[in-house]
C-alpha cells in the first residue's frame, strides 16, 4: 500500500510517499509554498521519482499551514501530530520534539507510545523561527546553508539580546559596524534562536531523548546552541525537514488500515 504525506509549510512544500508505512519510496522539498506552484511541484517530484501514479495512492494526508488549501487530501492533520509521528517513527525513544519551521517553533511532549500529549508554540513574534535566521542571513549576505559553517568558526560568539527580529537586525548591523567578525555574529544569532526556543521547551518539560525536526534542525549551529541551553544531547536526522511529510504519510497508512478493516 502506498500513502502520500504533504506538508505545506510557510516557506517550503514537502511531500513523501511511503510503502506499507515503512519504506520511503520518494520524497521532495521545494522552496515555495501556498499560492505558488511549490506544492504541485513537490507532488510531481515524488510521483516522477517513484514512478507511481495518483491512483496508486491509497490515502493522502495534508499537513502544515497550507493544509486546508490543498484539495487532493483525504484528511487534514495538524503538523504537530505529524511531526510527533514522523519523529517517533525514526527515533522511537524520543519524548521531546523541538520543531523549528519557517514561521513558528513548537515543542511537543510525547508519551512512551510516541503519542503527543502536550505542546507549546511560540507566540506571534518571529524570533526563534526560521524567518529570523533568513533575515539575519540576508543582512550578512550569506546563504542560509552557510550559517552552520560560519557558526563553527566562531571564537567569541556575539551576544544578540533583542528578542524582536527587527531590533535584532539593528543589533547585528551595529555589531557589524563595530567590527564583530561574521562567524561570531552567526554563532550569536544561532544562540539567540536556541535560547528562545529552549525557554518554550522548559515550559512543556524537557524529557530525553530530545530530537529536533523542521528546516532549522539542519543548522548545526542552532543544534549545538540548543544542546548547551538544555544540557542534553539532541538527536537529529538528515531528513529533519521531511518529518512532517513522513508523519502525514504514516498517519495516512494508519487511517487507510482503519478504513480497510
Amino acid at each position: 500500500m502506498f500513502t502520500l504525506g504533504i506538508d505545506i509549510g510557510s516557506t517550503t512544500a514537502k511531500a513523501a510517499i511511503l510503502k506499507d508505512g515503512k519504506e520511503t519510496v520518494a520524497s521532495s522539498i521545494v522552496i515555495a509554498t501556498v499560492g505558488t506552484d511549490g506544492v504541485s511541484q513537490a507532488i510531481e517530484n515524488v510521483f516522477r521519482d517513484s514512478g507511481l501514479k495518483k491512483e496508486d495512492i491509497q490515502f493522502t494526508v495534508a499537513t502544515g499551514y497550507g493544509r486546508k488549501t490543498f484539495e487532493g487530501a483525504d484528511l487534514q492533520v495538524s503538523e504537530l501530530t505529524c511531526h510527533a509521528i514522523g519523529v517517533h517513527h525514526e527515533f522511537n525513544n524520543v519524548r521531546t520534539v523541538i520543531d523549528i519551521g519557517g514561521q513558528d517553533a513548537k515543542v511537543l511532549s510525547l508519551n512512551e507510545q510516541g503519542r503527543m500529549v502536550n505542546f507549546v508554540m511560540n507566540d506571534k513574534c518571529a524570533a526563534g523561527t526560521g524567518r529570523f535566521l533568513d533575515v539575519m542571513a540576508n543582512i550578512l549576505h550569506l546563504d542560509i546553508s552557510q550559517l552552520e559553517v560560519e557558526a563553527a568558526k566562531a571564537t567569541h560568539p556575539a551576544d544578540i539580546s533583542s528578542t524582536c527580529t527587527v531590533f535584532a537586525e539593528s543589533e547585528v548591523i551595529s555589531q557589524l559596524a563595530a567590527g564583530t567578525k561574521i562567524p561570531d555574529l552567526v554563532a550569536g544569532i544561532c544562540q539567540s534562536v536556541a535560547s528562545r526556543v529552549a525557554a518554550l521547551a522548559k515550559r512543556v518539560g524537557v524529557k530525553e531523548t530530545v530530537c529536533m525536526s523542521g528546516g532549522v534542525a539542519r543548522n548545526a549551529g542552532v543544534r549545538t546552541a540548543m544542546e548547551k541551553e538544555l544540557g542534553v544531547r539532541i538527536a537529529y536526522s538528515e531528513n529533519a525537514q521531511l518529518m512532517g511529510a513522513f508523519g502525514a504519510a504514516l498517519y495516512a497508512f494508519d487511517k487507510a488500515n482503519t478504513v480497510n478493516s
Binding site: 487534514q76 513558528d104 503519542r115 502536550n118 505542546f119 506571534k124 515550559r203
Partner: protein, 411 residues
C-alpha cells in the same frame, strides 16, 4: 443567473431568555441616554465596581468595558485603537482602554454609542490599568472619579482587615455620590437590590453549572453574550427574571435532549480569558467545526455575586478572579473542569490583559496536571484585531483536538 435567496430570520420569541437578555443589555444604554436627557447625572462604571451602589442610589451608569467589547465585536476595534495610538497611547495598553479613551474624545461610534459621563466609578479588583484609564477620562472631561481600591489578595481567604478597608471605601463612595448627584442612600432599597442581585447571581451560576450535563444544554459562547447583563444589570429585577428563564431553558434543554450547541458535542473544553471579540466568529467556528464545545469559563462565573449583608458584599468583591491568589484561582478552575467533565483547556494569551495572561502560564500548567487534561494557549487580544492570527489559532485548536481524540481512543 439565479437570484440570491436571503434566509428569513425567525422572529425572536419575546418570552425566550435570549430575547429578554438582549433587551436588558440594550436598555442599559437607552436608560442612560434618557436619564442624561432628563438632566440627571450619569456615570461610567468599571465592570466589577459594586453595581449595588449606583443601583441603590437610583443612578444610571454605563460600562466602558462592555461598550469596548461591543465596538470590537462589531468591527470598530482597530479604528478606535489607532485613534488612541495617534493621541500617544501605547499599543501595549489594554485595547478596552484605548477604545474607551478614543470614544471619550470622539464621543461617537456607530457600533455602540453611550452618553458622556458626569462622573466615573473605578474599582481595581479586576485590573490596575483601569486606574490610569479612568483618571485620564476624569482629567480630560474635568469630572469626579470615585476610586475603590481592592488590592490583589495574596492569601487564600479574605481577611477581616481587608473587608474593613473595603467597607470604609464603599461608604466613602456612597457619600461622594450623594454629594455629586443629590441622591440619597436607603438601607431598605439596598436590601431590595441585594436580593435582586442575589437572585440574578444564583440563577446565572446555576445556569452556567448546567454544563455538568453531557452533552451540555448550551454552547459556551452563549455565556459570553449573556454575561453582558450580569455585568450591567445584575441588580435589576428584569435581569433576575431573565436569568431564571435562562436556567429554566437550559434545564428543559437537558430534559428534552436539546442544546444551543447545534452540532454533535465531541469534546468539552474550558476557555480561559476574555473572548477575542474582533474574532469571535473565527474563534467560535474553529471550535464548533470540530465538535468542540467550550462548556465553561471562569470569566462568566466572575459576575455572580452572592452575599448576605453589606460586609458580605465587601468580601464578595474581594473574591473576584483577578484579585485572588494563584492557588484559589487554580482551585476554582479545577472545580469547574471536574464538575463539567472538561477534556482540554484552551488559554487565550491576551495581549491586552497582562495581569491575567501573566499568571496563566503557571496556573494552566497546574490545572492541566491536576485534571490530566491537555493545555493549549493561543495569542490574541480582547479588542485589538491586529494581535491575532487565525491560522495560528487554527493549528493550536486542531492540535488540542487531536490530543483529546487520542485520549478518548485510549492511546
Amino acid at each position: 443567473m439565479g437570484e440570491e435567496v436571503k434566509k428569513k430570520r425567525r422572529a425572536p420569541d419575546p418570552n425566550s431568555a435570549k430575547y429578554k437578555l438582549g433587551q436588558i443589555a440594550a436598555k442599559a444604554y437607552s436608560d442612560c441616554v434618557e436619564a442624561k436627557a432628563r438632566g440627571e447625572k450619569i456615570g461610567w462604571c468599571a465592570s466589577n465596581f459594586p453595581v449595588e451602589i449606583p443601583e441603590t442610589l437610583g443612578l444610571h451608569v454605563c460600562y466602558p468595558e462592555n461598550q469596548a467589547a461591543a465596538i470590537a465585536a462589531r468591527g470598530g476595534g482597530e479604528r478606535m485603537c489607532s485613534e488612541s495610538e495617534g493621541d500617544g497611547y501605547s499599543n501595549d495598553i489594554c485595547a478596552y482602554a484605548r477604545i474607551s479613551l478614543a470614544y471619550m474624545k470622539l464621543k461617537k461610534a456607530p457600533e455602540q454609542d453611550m452618553p458622556q459621563p458626569d462622573f466615573v466609578l473605578c474599582c481595581n479588583n479586576i485590573c490596575n490599568c483601569m486606574i490610569k484609564w479612568y483618571e485620564n477620562i476624569a482629567k480630560e472631561l474635568d469630572i469626579p472619579m470615585i476610586m475603590i481600591d481592592i488590592p490583589f489578595n495574596p492569601d487564600y481567604e479574605v481577611s477581616d482587615a481587608e473587608v474593613e478597608y473595603i467597607e470604609a471605601q464603599f461608604w466613602d463612595a456612597i457619600h461622594q455620590l450623594e454629594d455629586i448627584t443629590g441622591k440619597k442612600w436607603s438601607d431598605e432599597r439596598f436590601k431590595e437590590v441585594k436580593e435582586i442581585s442575589g437572585r440574578s447571581s444564583r440563577a446565572w451560576l446555576k445556569a452556567t453549572a448546567c454544563a455538568k450535563y453531557v452533552p451540555s444544554p448550551f454552547n459556551g459562547f452563549d455565556l459570553l453574550n449573556h454575561m453582558a447583563v450580569m455585568v450591567t444589570a445584575r441588580g435589576k429585577a428584569e435581569a433576575a427574571e431573565a436569568m431564571e428563564t435562562l436556567l429554566k431553558e437550559y434545564e428543559e434543554n437537558h430534559k428534552t435532549g436539546k442544546s444551543t450547541f447545534r452540532t454533535d458535542e465531541k469534546y468539552r473544553i474550558m476557555f480561559e480569558g476574555i473572548a477575542c471579540w474582533p474574532w469571535l466568529r473565527a474563534t467560535s467556528t474553529g471550535l464548533k467545526s470540530r465538535g468542540i464545545n467550550m462548556v465553561t469559563t471562569i470569566y462568566a462565573d466572575a459576575f455572580g455575586f452572592i452575599y448576605d449583608d453589606f460586609k458580605g458584599m465587601c468580601r464578595a468583591y474581594a473574591r473576584v478572579p483577578n484579585a485572588m491568589n494563584l492557588e484559589l484561582s487554580r482551585d476554582k478552575r479545577i472545580k469547574l473542569c471536574k464538575d463539567n467533565h472538561v477534556e482540554g483547556l484552551l488559554v487565550h494569551t491576551n495581549r491586552s490583559c497582562k495581569l491575567w495572561s501573566g499568571f496563566m502560564a503557571e496556573m494552566s500548567k497546574q490545572i492541566g496536571q491536576a485534571c490530566g487534561i491537555p493545555v493549549v494557549s493561543f495569542d490574541g487580544d480582547q479588542a485589538d484585531p491586529r494581535n491575532f492570527s487565525e491560522a495560528q489559532y487554527d493549528t493550536r485548536v486542531q492540535g488540542l483536538m487531536e490530543i483529546m481524540e487520542a485520549n478518548k481512543e485510549g492511546h
